[in-house]
């Protein structure tokens, strides 16, 4: 799936998307990251045809989306801005609505309900489900017709830590065992970094980074620090600077740009010999927002 110079503007506002060239490789799990309001949902809505395209192009499964909308949608499962669920109906009835359209076998409903752990909800109406259950039903709806491409917008919203783990396992299994390509958006890098193979980072409508997870992690390592908490910050800074490093004091800690672990041990020895009491040594990695700022130079 790829977008070519995708640009979108809502009336009276600046560009919500600006020449976005997203490229999701077949068989990958693509993490689409960005803070709230960055343009993630707008991009996904354009890809699915929920917003009228203004500028640029979208290709899915090698064909132009506009020219093959119905055929393309037949192979896509999606959940955008939370699950789309009819509250007055049960989980099975919600799935039956889509089963009619996709013309899947009847047994498929039980399969996906078991897959997301909702097989025992029986006659309970979806409006009475917890947020996590609704989210899982949303995933079941997206998976019902065994899509080749799964597009999920913040699918872990509302899930407890255990639910997030289960979701991660489910998506990994779909990707590895059934070859489903997954495009998943999130505003939290730690939440999806153990899941994705590729990453795209968007902010204010601009795609700031796109590449493999390894490339992003390397960038993050370049922006990480080792923090020393000692009995005397000023003296520690002086000693470290004397070793040829460029430290800075921040929040009662002396921060040194990313080091190999042997160098950390050297610094520790020097500090102890210099009469410092070393209370704590730790790695401080840049968060997603900081990487954004580094990338866009703010």
């Amino acid at each position: 799936m790829e977008t070519i110079n995708l640009t979108h503007k809502f009336s009276g506002a600046e560009n919500a998307l600006n020449l976005v060239n997203l490229r999701v490789v077949e068989g990958s799990i693509y993490g689409f990251l960005g803070p709230n309001g960055a343009g993630k949902t707008t991009t996904l809505k354009l890809i699915l045809g929920l917003l009228k395209k203004q500028h640029g192009d979208i290709h899915v499964f090698g064909k132009r989306f506009e020219d093959n909308r119905v055929e393309t949608l037949r192979r896509i499962g999606s959940m955008i801005e939370g699950p789309s669920i009819y509250g007055h109906l049960t989980a099975a009835e919600n799935l039956e609505i889509l089963r009619k359209v996709y013309r899947c076998p009847g047994g498929r409903i039980r399969e996906v309900l078991e897959l997301v752990g909702l097989s025992r909800t029986g006659g309970k109406r979806a409006s009475q489900f917890s947020l996590g259950m609704k989210q899982r039903l949303g995933i079941a709806l997206a998976l019902l017709h065994s899509p080749s491409l799964l597009i999920l917008d913040e699918p872990t919203n509302g899930l407890d830590p255990n639910g997030i783990l289960e979701m991660r396992g489910l998506l990994q299994s779909l990707n590895q065992n059934r070859g489903v390509t997954i495009l998943i958006s999130s505003h939290q890098l730690p939440e999806i970094e153990r899941l994705v193979t590729h990453v795209g980072i968007i902010n204010r409508g601009n795609l700031l980074f796109q590449g493999t997870l390894a490339e992003l992690l390397s960038k993050r390592r370049q922006n990480s620090f080792v923090a020393f908490e000692t009995s005397d910050d000023a003296q520690t800074e002086l000693l470290v600077r004397g070793m040829g490093f460029s430290p800075r004091v921040e929040s009662g800690r002396v921060m040194i740009p990313a080091l190999e672990r042997e160098r950390v041990a050297d610094i520790n020895r020097t500090l102890v010999r210099g009469g410092m009491e070393v209370y704590q040594i730790g790695r401080v990695e840049s968060d997603l927002e900081k990487i954004f700022f580094d990338v866009i130079g703010e």
Binding site: K45, L48, G49, L50, L51, K52, R69, V70, E71, L73, R74, I76, S78, I80, E81, G82, S84, I85, Y86, G87, H88, L89, E93, E96, I97, L98, K100, V101, Y102, R103, L141
Partner: protein
């Protein structure tokens, strides 16, 4: 085949919805009132049940409130409620990411509204029949109506009244799809309907799209003495409904944001 699957999918959504309850309530409301009134005044029924125009009187009595009041109000509310199933559950985005053409979706949903209207008509006819026969089953002195049921004229009236409703269905459908806020289509519908009721005595009131049913019924029952309709109201209703349905389709298909 796609259209049939699409319609089946849309039809499932009305299960346990407010709109489906409204169909039941609306269809049986007038017959229930008539039945209650007959049970209360059952002493006068034996004479009534042997009259030759028994069915015609019951028919007119039942349809009067239906044509002028219940049917337009019911259509306005039910059409709005059906569209609200998608708005309230935030499911338009799912509807529009299913592999269906926008025209298929538009027509499937419209067919659901129309079939619910057929449901109302069918249940109403059953209700009218039951309001006639239940008193004779309950009270020993009340016979089964001796006059034959004029099936042909009742069928023709049903068809005419159904066609008369179509402009209301089409315009309310257009408004309900267009506006997320339930109050907009319902408020606009009520305003237009009130306007229509206010102009009923005007000689050209048959031109007003929300008046066809009422004008047709009131003319046929002699409420507008001496007034003749220059055109068949049903033809006007079909023209209006086609125009509204087409306009609704254009607005729906060209909507910039679909979820």
């Amino acid at each position: 085949m796609t259209f049939v699957s699409s319609f089946q999918s849309e039809w499932l959504k009305r299960r346990r919805s407010l709109a489906s309850w409204l169909v039941l309530t609306g269809a049986f409301f007038t017959p229930t009132i008539i039945l209650a009134s007959r049970i209360k005044n059952h002493a006068a029924l034996p004479a009534l049940y042997v009259t030759e125009d028994f069915w015609r009187k019951l028919w007119n009595q039942s349809w009067e409130s239906m044509e002028v009041f219940l049917l337009p109000v019911g259509i306005i509310l039910a059409t709005g409620l059906l569209a609200q199933i998608e708005y309230r559950n935030d499911t338009w985005k799912q509807v529009h990411t299913t592999p269906r053409g926008f025209t298929t979706i538009y027509l499937s949903k419209l067919l659901v509204v129309l079939l619910m209207l057929v449901e109302v008509f069918a249940l109403f006819n059953v209700g009218v029949y039951l309001s006639a026969v239940i008193p004779s089953a309950l009270f020993g002195g009340v016979p089964y109506p001796t006059a034959p049921i004029p099936f042909a004229s009742f069928w023709a009236a049903n068809v005419n009244f159904f066609v008369d409703c179509l402009p209301i269905v089409a315009l309310q459908y257009l408004l309900s799809l267009r506006f997320k806020n339930f109050l907009v289509p319902v408020g606009a519908g009520f305003a237009v309907w009130f306007l229509g009721v206010g102009m009923l005595s005007w000689e050209y009131s048959y031109l007003f799209p929300y008046n066809h049913g009422a004008v047709n019924f009131l003319t046929a029952t002699g409420h507008f003495a001496g007034r003749k309709l220059p055109a068949r109201v049903e033809h006007l209703a079909l023209i209006y409904s086609a125009a509204f349905a087409f306009a609704g389709w254009v607005l729906y298909v060209t909507k910039r944001e679909k979820g």
